[in-house]
Amino acid sequence: MSDLENFRLETREWLEANCPAEMRKPVRDDDDVYWGGRRATFKNDAQKAWFEACRDKGYTVPAWPKAYGGAGLSAPEAKILRQEMAAIGARPPLSSFGIWMLGPALLKFGTEGQKQRFLNEIARGEIRWCQGYSEPGSGSDLVSMQTFGEDKGDHWQVNGQKIWTSYADHADWIFCLVRTDKDNKYKGITFMLFDMAGAGVSTKPILLISGNSPFCETFFDDVKVPKSYGEDCPGFVGEINRGWDVAKYLLGHEREMISGMGGGERTAAIGTAMKRHSAKTGDDLDPMLRTELAMFDVDALAFTAMAEKFMDEMKSGKGHPAQPNMMKYVGTELNKRRHELMMSVGGSRSLEWESEETRGGAPSRDWLRTKANSIEGGTSEVMLNVISKRILELPGA
């Protein structure tokens, strides 16, 4: 038996022994997954047991090196773990922006000291991070951001405001773009790391059209950000004034992640399920709606093939480096269309905002949430600009 086959069997056994039955049910709400952090609590014992088992095995971040809290799995091993977890419907043991965003940035740009400290904290779910990028005046034009850190020798004094900070009100630390040179647009931003519990940091949740508040406004009022947290552990990632390089890398990583989901449930065909749904409510599918569903399914299934091709090409180093922008554009637009159709099929029932039958208005809230898909992480219009410039090489784009 090959090592990989062995690994698969061991993994299967380990999951069988360690993943509680409750943790194999689909995720319905945000708190069905553990997010970690100083103030975190477990929803139930099963969540705690599952998290702790994975933490001790390095499976909260399986592909990170063991020294930083991971399991040091190779890419094929990590894929096997993902497959085996998917096979039993296992929930992620830990979710966080530390895992998805800051971790990859530190692995690429961080010092050894930063990796030792911050990656281990992330892997063990001890510190919950949030991302400070957008500002009220800087959305798509992110580089125009003005939150400013005045150089005070051993620290910066930061003043300004961020917006769309996901879960800032639950976060412990922030990775934050701060302007450190007002005269240099691209080479005047520093990627800082600091504690949200420090003086001068305040957050205010933003109520969205979905009725939920996953995002905050975050205010900085004379916040003191140390340049160093000790030996080989600076308070910023990469170089001072070169934070844009880190931010750009992370944005690319984010789009890749979003587009990598293309083959999943979000964009799969829906006609069959919609027919079943309307039969349950005693409705017939309107022939025109059936047509729309069929046209959607054609696009969704075709995109599934595109997602597979995209992933295959990425793995083998083929494909255009700007392709994630195309995947993000098409995938998010499809998801919006999907929810429009689901609302139409659901009829008046899907308008319900609070009923038990709709699990608290899930259809309408989810539908409204999807409207952000083509805005966050780069708008569809910005994606089209990038395709024009980098793939089609159109002039002036």
Partner: protein
Amino acid sequence: MPLYHSEDQAMLADSASGFMADEGNIAKQLRHYRDGGCPDGFGHKLWHQMAEMGFTGMLVDEADGGLGMGHVEAGIVLEEIGRNLTPSPFLTSSVLAATALKHGSNDLKGRYLPGLVSGESVFAVAVDETAKHRPSRITTRAEKSGNGFKLTGAKSFVVQGASADMLVVAARTSGADDDEDGITLFAVPKDAANMSHDAVRLVDSSVASHTKFDGVELDGGAVIGDVDGGREVLNAMLAAGRIGTAAEGVGVARGAMDMTIDYIKQRKQFGQVIGEFQALQHRASHLYSEVEIARAVTIKAQQLLDEGAESADLMTSVAKAKVAKAAGLAVKEGVQMHGGIGMTDEYDIGLYMKRDRALQEFLGDAYFHANRVADMSGY
């Protein structure tokens, strides 16, 4: 299997691309035969050259003198045919008829396949009976007559029917017009008595026939597959033809798109290159996305068909519908972005629009295939 071309397939794509650009290009083929009023609508010399390249017998088994390749490989050639708008019997002969003949007797194979492989023969398929593709309804009848059959009925959209040495004809040997069973496929030779063609030139300069069978006598040896069991052969032939048409459509889409992107990088108005206008950039980028996706799902369906996967039929319809939408967008945006010059016969972009229209209709348009996706998905 990864969803991109293997090294061998990439090499084939290189040689097909070079060959079609050199020999199958618009000036040498499409315009030449169109302007010369050629009754066939394609050139036999190129067909022979394609045989020398090994293209004509790609899908023919090695035991029968072919290359024993699959739909991914045939699709590679078809994409280049589409890109160059090359008129050729490849789709009807080497894809559709060749797929049907796989189910034929050794005698039929021996009679027809050598001519296909050598580029001597051209085949056509006669399936449609009305202006829309509706193969579930077959009214052309083949009645038992002595040791053979007598074929009566009418077919339309028989591409290159009048030029073909043999026609694969779907006829009813039992049951009612809309029955699933009771279909038989026949290989009808060109010199069969009581067969007549009304050959008509189409918008894309290809030639298709309204073909009449007025008591055409056929012997039992003309049957492809089993009597009354032809639906399976017909479905296999249609699946091959549909994914082939999709591949050619991808080529048309890419050809039209590349030409258009090049054009908006050159054309100046208001003192600037029009490709600098965001109004055009966003449409071009959207088009690029659609064409990439259409190509991905086409390759996916080709692979599934070659693997004999259960989902091949569904994905073939997805691909045919998606390509129809994407290629339709490519040619419409192509003409619009070219402006006035796009309306002239002298400029090639209009030829792409014409070819796309014909390919959309061939073997089922986007509506037919989207409907089929819904049917197959149970809604």
